[in-house]
Symmetry: C2
Amino acid sequence: MEVHILRLGHRRDRDKRVTTHIALVGRAFGARGVYISGDRDLAIPESVEKVNNEWGGNFYVEYTENWKHLLRSWDGVKVHLTMYGIPLPEKIDEIKKSRKILVIVGAEKVPGTVYSMSDYNISVGNQPHSEVAALAVFLDRVLEGKVFSIRFDNARREIIPAEKGKKVVKK
Amino acid sequence: MEVHILRLGHRRDRDKRVTTHIALVGRAFGARGVYISGDRDLAIPESVEKVNNEWGGNFYVEYTENWKHLLRSWDGVKVHLTMYGIPLPEKIDEIKKSRKILVIVGAEKVPGTVYSMSDYNISVGNQPHSEVAALAVFLDRVLEGKVFSIRFDNARREIIPAEKGKKVVKK
Protein backbone atom coordinates (compact mmCIF):
# COMPACT_ATOMS: atom_id res chain seq x y z
CA MET A 1 0.00 0.00 0.00
CA GLU A 2 1.20 3.51 -0.70
CA VAL A 3 0.27 6.43 1.52
CA HIS A 4 0.45 10.14 0.73
CA ILE A 5 -0.54 13.06 2.94
CA LEU A 6 -2.39 16.31 2.32
CA ARG A 7 -1.80 19.07 4.86
CA LEU A 8 -4.61 21.59 4.51
CA GLY A 9 -4.48 25.27 5.39
CA HIS A 10 -0.83 25.72 6.40
CA ARG A 11 -0.18 29.15 7.97
CA ARG A 12 3.45 30.22 7.75
CA ASP A 13 3.96 31.64 11.24
CA ARG A 14 1.58 29.59 13.30
CA ASP A 15 2.03 26.16 11.72
CA LYS A 16 5.70 26.02 10.74
CA ARG A 17 6.73 23.50 13.35
CA VAL A 18 3.55 21.43 13.39
CA THR A 19 3.58 21.08 9.58
CA THR A 20 7.26 20.10 9.72
CA HIS A 21 6.39 17.47 12.32
CA ILE A 22 3.64 16.16 10.01
CA ALA A 23 6.11 15.78 7.17
CA LEU A 24 8.75 14.08 9.33
CA VAL A 25 6.18 11.72 10.84
CA GLY A 26 5.00 10.86 7.33
CA ARG A 27 8.58 10.06 6.30
CA ALA A 28 9.48 8.08 9.44
CA PHE A 29 6.23 6.07 9.50
CA GLY A 30 6.33 5.02 5.84
CA ALA A 31 4.34 7.54 3.76
CA ARG A 32 5.69 8.68 0.37
CA GLY A 33 5.31 12.42 0.69
CA VAL A 34 3.12 15.36 1.62
CA TYR A 35 1.15 17.92 -0.36
CA ILE A 36 0.76 21.24 1.43
CA SER A 37 -1.96 23.77 0.74
CA GLY A 38 -2.07 27.24 2.25
CA ASP A 39 0.88 29.58 2.65
CA ARG A 40 3.83 28.81 0.44
CA ASP A 41 6.56 28.28 3.00
CA LEU A 42 10.00 27.16 1.85
CA ALA A 43 11.05 26.31 5.40
CA ILE A 44 9.12 23.03 5.27
CA PRO A 45 10.71 21.47 2.15
CA GLU A 46 14.11 22.78 3.28
CA SER A 47 13.82 21.05 6.67
CA VAL A 48 12.70 17.80 5.06
CA GLU A 49 15.44 17.98 2.43
CA LYS A 50 18.05 18.27 5.18
CA VAL A 51 16.63 15.18 6.84
CA ASN A 52 16.55 13.25 3.54
CA ASN A 53 20.18 14.21 2.86
CA GLU A 54 21.34 13.06 6.25
CA TRP A 55 19.04 10.14 7.03
CA GLY A 56 18.15 8.97 3.52
CA GLY A 57 15.10 8.33 1.39
CA ASN A 58 13.22 10.61 -0.96
CA PHE A 59 10.15 11.77 0.93
CA TYR A 60 8.65 14.63 -1.07
CA VAL A 61 7.08 17.95 -0.06
CA GLU A 62 4.94 19.62 -2.74
CA TYR A 63 2.79 22.71 -2.63
CA THR A 64 -0.60 22.38 -4.18
CA GLU A 65 -2.46 25.49 -5.33
CA ASN A 66 -5.70 23.61 -5.67
CA TRP A 67 -6.51 20.98 -3.08
CA LYS A 68 -10.03 20.45 -4.42
CA HIS A 69 -8.54 19.42 -7.73
CA LEU A 70 -6.13 17.07 -5.93
CA LEU A 71 -9.05 15.44 -4.09
CA ARG A 72 -11.23 15.19 -7.19
CA SER A 73 -8.50 13.62 -9.30
CA TRP A 74 -7.07 11.31 -6.61
CA ASP A 75 -6.96 7.71 -7.91
CA GLY A 76 -7.18 6.08 -4.52
CA VAL A 77 -8.93 6.29 -1.17
CA LYS A 78 -9.21 9.59 0.72
CA VAL A 79 -9.13 9.45 4.52
CA HIS A 80 -9.75 12.66 6.46
CA LEU A 81 -8.55 12.54 10.08
CA THR A 82 -10.92 14.46 12.34
CA MET A 83 -12.02 14.25 15.97
CA TYR A 84 -15.62 14.16 14.67
CA GLY A 85 -15.12 11.02 12.58
CA ILE A 86 -15.71 7.30 13.03
CA PRO A 87 -13.18 5.63 15.36
CA LEU A 88 -10.30 4.11 13.39
CA PRO A 89 -10.77 0.56 14.79
CA GLU A 90 -14.27 0.40 13.23
CA LYS A 91 -12.96 1.04 9.72
CA ILE A 92 -9.38 -0.15 9.75
CA ASP A 93 -10.00 -3.50 8.06
CA GLU A 94 -11.68 -1.77 5.11
CA ILE A 95 -9.02 0.91 4.92
CA LYS A 96 -6.19 -1.63 4.94
CA LYS A 97 -7.52 -3.13 1.72
CA SER A 98 -6.68 0.09 -0.15
CA ARG A 99 -3.90 0.18 -2.71
CA LYS A 100 -3.33 3.92 -2.41
CA ILE A 101 -4.39 6.34 0.32
CA LEU A 102 -4.40 10.10 0.70
CA VAL A 103 -4.53 11.01 4.39
CA ILE A 104 -5.90 14.51 4.92
CA VAL A 105 -4.92 16.50 8.03
CA GLY A 106 -6.16 20.02 8.57
CA ALA A 107 -4.88 23.02 10.46
CA GLU A 108 -7.30 25.02 12.68
CA LYS A 109 -10.50 25.08 10.59
CA VAL A 110 -11.28 22.55 7.87
CA PRO A 111 -13.82 23.49 5.14
CA GLY A 112 -17.04 21.42 5.33
CA THR A 113 -16.54 20.18 1.79
CA VAL A 114 -13.52 18.12 2.93
CA TYR A 115 -15.89 15.94 4.98
CA SER A 116 -18.07 15.23 1.94
CA MET A 117 -15.22 14.80 -0.57
CA SER A 118 -13.43 12.23 1.63
CA ASP A 119 -14.22 8.51 1.48
CA TYR A 120 -13.71 8.22 5.22
CA ASN A 121 -13.80 10.69 8.11
CA ILE A 122 -11.83 8.93 10.80
CA SER A 123 -11.10 9.82 14.42
CA VAL A 124 -8.20 8.82 16.64
CA GLY A 125 -10.15 9.59 19.78
CA ASN A 126 -13.08 12.01 19.87
CA GLN A 127 -11.18 14.58 21.92
CA PRO A 128 -9.21 17.62 20.79
CA HIS A 129 -5.51 16.81 20.63
CA SER A 130 -3.05 16.98 17.73
CA GLU A 131 -3.07 16.24 14.01
CA VAL A 132 0.54 15.04 14.40
CA ALA A 133 -0.58 12.43 16.94
CA ALA A 134 -3.60 11.38 14.87
CA LEU A 135 -1.41 10.93 11.79
CA ALA A 136 1.19 8.91 13.72
CA VAL A 137 -1.34 6.51 15.24
CA PHE A 138 -3.16 6.15 11.91
CA LEU A 139 0.08 5.26 10.09
CA ASP A 140 1.32 3.02 12.90
CA ARG A 141 -1.89 0.99 12.86
CA VAL A 142 -2.62 0.96 9.12
CA LEU A 143 0.99 0.19 8.12
CA GLU A 144 1.33 -2.20 11.06
CA GLY A 145 4.32 -0.73 12.84
CA LYS A 146 6.39 -0.01 9.73
CA VAL A 147 7.98 2.83 11.76
CA PHE A 148 9.92 0.14 13.65
CA SER A 149 11.41 -1.57 10.58
CA ILE A 150 11.80 1.18 7.98
CA ARG A 151 15.21 1.62 6.32
CA PHE A 152 16.16 4.41 3.93
CA ASP A 153 18.44 4.27 0.89
CA ASN A 154 21.39 6.64 0.74
CA ALA A 155 21.43 7.37 4.45
CA ARG A 156 24.62 9.07 5.61
CA ARG A 157 23.82 8.28 9.22
CA GLU A 158 22.09 5.43 10.93
CA ILE A 159 21.26 4.93 14.59
CA ILE A 160 22.21 1.78 16.47
CA PRO A 161 19.56 1.52 19.20
CA ALA A 162 21.16 1.85 22.64
CA GLU A 163 20.08 1.31 26.24
CA LYS A 164 21.85 4.55 27.26
CA GLY A 165 23.24 7.41 25.20
CA LYS A 166 23.59 7.79 21.43
CA LYS A 167 25.15 5.42 18.93
CA VAL A 168 25.29 6.68 15.36
CA VAL A 169 27.06 5.06 12.41
CA LYS A 170 28.33 7.36 9.65
CA LYS A 171 28.31 5.84 6.18
CA MET B 1 -1.45 1.80 35.40
CA GLU B 2 -1.03 5.54 35.81
CA VAL B 3 1.01 7.60 33.38
CA HIS B 4 2.43 11.08 33.88
CA ILE B 5 4.53 13.13 31.45
CA LEU B 6 7.60 15.32 31.84
CA ARG B 7 8.17 17.86 29.08
CA LEU B 8 11.81 18.96 29.28
CA GLY B 9 13.23 22.28 28.12
CA HIS B 10 10.12 24.14 27.00
CA ARG B 11 10.95 27.39 25.16
CA ARG B 12 8.12 29.92 25.22
CA ASP B 13 8.19 31.13 21.61
CA ARG B 14 9.43 28.11 19.76
CA ASP B 15 7.60 25.32 21.61
CA LYS B 16 4.25 26.85 22.54
CA ARG B 17 2.19 24.79 20.12
CA VAL B 18 4.19 21.57 20.30
CA THR B 19 4.09 21.57 24.12
CA THR B 20 0.33 22.25 23.99
CA HIS B 21 -0.04 19.28 21.63
CA ILE B 22 1.93 17.13 24.07
CA ALA B 23 -0.41 18.07 26.90
CA LEU B 24 -3.56 17.48 24.84
CA VAL B 25 -2.27 14.14 23.57
CA GLY B 26 -1.50 13.14 27.15
CA ARG B 27 -5.05 14.03 28.18
CA ALA B 28 -6.77 12.36 25.20
CA PHE B 29 -4.68 9.17 25.35
CA GLY B 30 -5.16 8.56 29.08
CA ALA B 31 -2.25 10.16 30.98
CA ARG B 32 -2.93 12.02 34.27
CA GLY B 33 -0.99 15.21 33.64
CA VAL B 34 2.22 16.86 32.51
CA TYR B 35 5.13 18.50 34.32
CA ILE B 36 6.85 21.18 32.28
CA SER B 37 10.41 22.35 32.82
CA GLY B 38 11.94 25.31 31.04
CA ASP B 39 10.26 28.65 30.39
CA ARG B 40 7.31 29.39 32.61
CA ASP B 41 4.56 29.87 30.03
CA LEU B 42 1.00 30.41 31.23
CA ALA B 43 -0.38 29.80 27.73
CA ILE B 44 -0.03 26.03 28.16
CA PRO B 45 -2.06 25.55 31.37
CA GLU B 46 -4.60 28.09 30.07
CA SER B 47 -5.14 26.13 26.85
CA VAL B 48 -5.47 22.85 28.73
CA GLU B 49 -7.85 24.40 31.28
CA LYS B 50 -10.12 25.53 28.47
CA VAL B 51 -10.19 22.01 27.09
CA ASN B 52 -10.86 20.51 30.54
CA ASN B 53 -13.73 22.96 31.08
CA GLU B 54 -15.33 22.15 27.76
CA TRP B 55 -14.49 18.47 27.26
CA GLY B 56 -14.14 17.31 30.86
CA GLY B 57 -11.61 15.61 33.09
CA ASN B 58 -8.90 17.06 35.29
CA PHE B 59 -5.65 16.65 33.36
CA TYR B 60 -3.05 18.76 35.16
CA VAL B 61 -0.23 21.01 33.93
CA GLU B 62 2.45 21.81 36.50
CA TYR B 63 5.71 23.68 36.18
CA THR B 64 8.68 22.06 37.82
CA GLU B 65 11.69 24.18 38.73
CA ASN B 66 13.85 21.14 39.28
CA TRP B 67 13.40 18.21 36.91
CA LYS B 68 16.38 16.35 38.37
CA HIS B 69 14.67 16.32 41.71
CA LEU B 70 11.46 15.07 40.07
CA LEU B 71 13.38 12.22 38.40
CA ARG B 72 15.30 11.32 41.57
CA SER B 73 12.20 11.23 43.75
CA TRP B 74 9.88 9.53 41.23
CA ASP B 75 8.27 6.45 42.81
CA GLY B 76 7.73 4.61 39.56
CA VAL B 77 9.33 3.78 36.24
CA LYS B 78 10.96 6.50 34.10
CA VAL B 79 10.75 6.10 30.32
CA HIS B 80 12.64 8.57 28.14
CA LEU B 81 11.44 8.70 24.52
CA THR B 82 14.35 9.24 22.16
CA MET B 83 15.19 8.28 18.57
CA TYR B 84 18.44 6.78 19.95
CA GLY B 85 16.70 4.33 22.27
CA ILE B 86 15.65 0.69 22.12
CA PRO B 87 12.61 0.06 19.88
CA LEU B 88 9.39 0.07 21.92
CA PRO B 89 8.27 -3.44 20.84
CA GLU B 90 11.40 -4.95 22.46
CA LYS B 91 10.56 -3.52 25.88
CA ILE B 92 6.81 -3.08 25.88
CA ASP B 93 5.99 -6.23 27.84
CA GLU B 94 8.30 -5.14 30.67
CA ILE B 95 7.02 -1.58 30.60
CA LYS B 96 3.38 -2.68 30.73
CA LYS B 97 4.02 -4.34 34.09
CA SER B 98 4.63 -0.92 35.68
CA ARG B 99 2.22 0.55 38.18
CA LYS B 100 3.26 4.14 37.56
CA ILE B 101 5.21 5.64 34.68
CA LEU B 102 6.81 9.00 34.00
CA VAL B 103 7.24 9.48 30.24
CA ILE B 104 9.96 12.01 29.45
CA VAL B 105 9.87 13.96 26.18
CA GLY B 106 12.48 16.57 25.39
CA ALA B 107 12.55 19.66 23.25
CA GLU B 108 15.55 20.26 20.93
CA LYS B 109 18.50 19.10 23.04
CA VAL B 110 18.19 16.73 25.97
CA PRO B 111 20.95 16.72 28.66
CA GLY B 112 22.95 13.48 28.69
CA THR B 113 22.07 12.86 32.30
CA VAL B 114 18.42 12.19 31.27
CA TYR B 115 19.60 9.05 29.46
CA SER B 116 21.33 7.73 32.57
CA MET B 117 18.63 8.76 35.06
CA SER B 118 15.88 7.01 33.05
CA ASP B 119 15.01 3.34 33.51
CA TYR B 120 14.35 2.99 29.79
CA ASN B 121 15.44 4.94 26.73
CA ILE B 122 12.85 3.98 24.15
CA SER B 123 12.51 4.80 20.46
CA VAL B 124 9.42 4.96 18.28
CA GLY B 125 11.46 4.58 15.13
CA ASN B 126 15.15 5.51 14.88
CA GLN B 127 14.47 8.47 12.61
CA PRO B 128 14.01 12.14 13.45
CA HIS B 129 10.32 12.99 13.61
CA SER B 130 8.20 14.41 16.44
CA GLU B 131 7.97 14.05 20.20
CA VAL B 132 4.19 14.45 19.85
CA ALA B 133 4.04 11.42 17.55
CA ALA B 134 6.37 9.36 19.75
CA LEU B 135 4.25 10.12 22.82
CA ALA B 136 1.01 9.26 21.00
CA VAL B 137 2.26 5.89 19.73
CA PHE B 138 3.81 5.07 23.10
CA LEU B 139 0.54 5.79 24.94
CA ASP B 140 -1.58 4.07 22.29
CA ARG B 141 0.47 0.89 22.56
CA VAL B 142 1.17 0.83 26.31
CA LEU B 143 -2.41 1.77 27.29
CA GLU B 144 -3.79 -0.49 24.53
CA GLY B 145 -5.89 1.97 22.60
CA LYS B 146 -7.40 3.75 25.61
CA VAL B 147 -7.69 6.82 23.33
CA PHE B 148 -10.61 5.06 21.64
CA SER B 149 -12.64 4.40 24.78
CA ILE B 150 -11.76 7.24 27.15
CA ARG B 151 -14.64 9.22 28.72
CA PHE B 152 -14.27 12.33 30.86
CA ASP B 153 -16.33 13.42 33.85
CA ASN B 154 -18.01 16.81 33.77
CA ALA B 155 -17.80 17.20 30.00
CA ARG B 156 -19.98 20.00 28.66
CA ARG B 157 -19.67 18.66 25.14
CA GLU B 158 -19.33 15.20 23.69
CA ILE B 159 -18.86 14.13 20.09
CA ILE B 160 -21.10 11.54 18.46
CA PRO B 161 -18.85 9.95 15.81
CA ALA B 162 -20.23 10.65 12.33
CA GLU B 163 -19.54 9.41 8.79
CA LYS B 164 -19.77 13.02 7.50
CA GLY B 165 -19.79 16.34 9.29
CA LYS B 166 -19.88 17.14 13.01
CA LYS B 167 -22.26 15.87 15.67
CA VAL B 168 -21.79 17.36 19.12
CA VAL B 169 -24.01 16.88 22.16
CA LYS B 170 -24.15 19.70 24.71
CA LYS B 171 -24.70 18.60 28.27
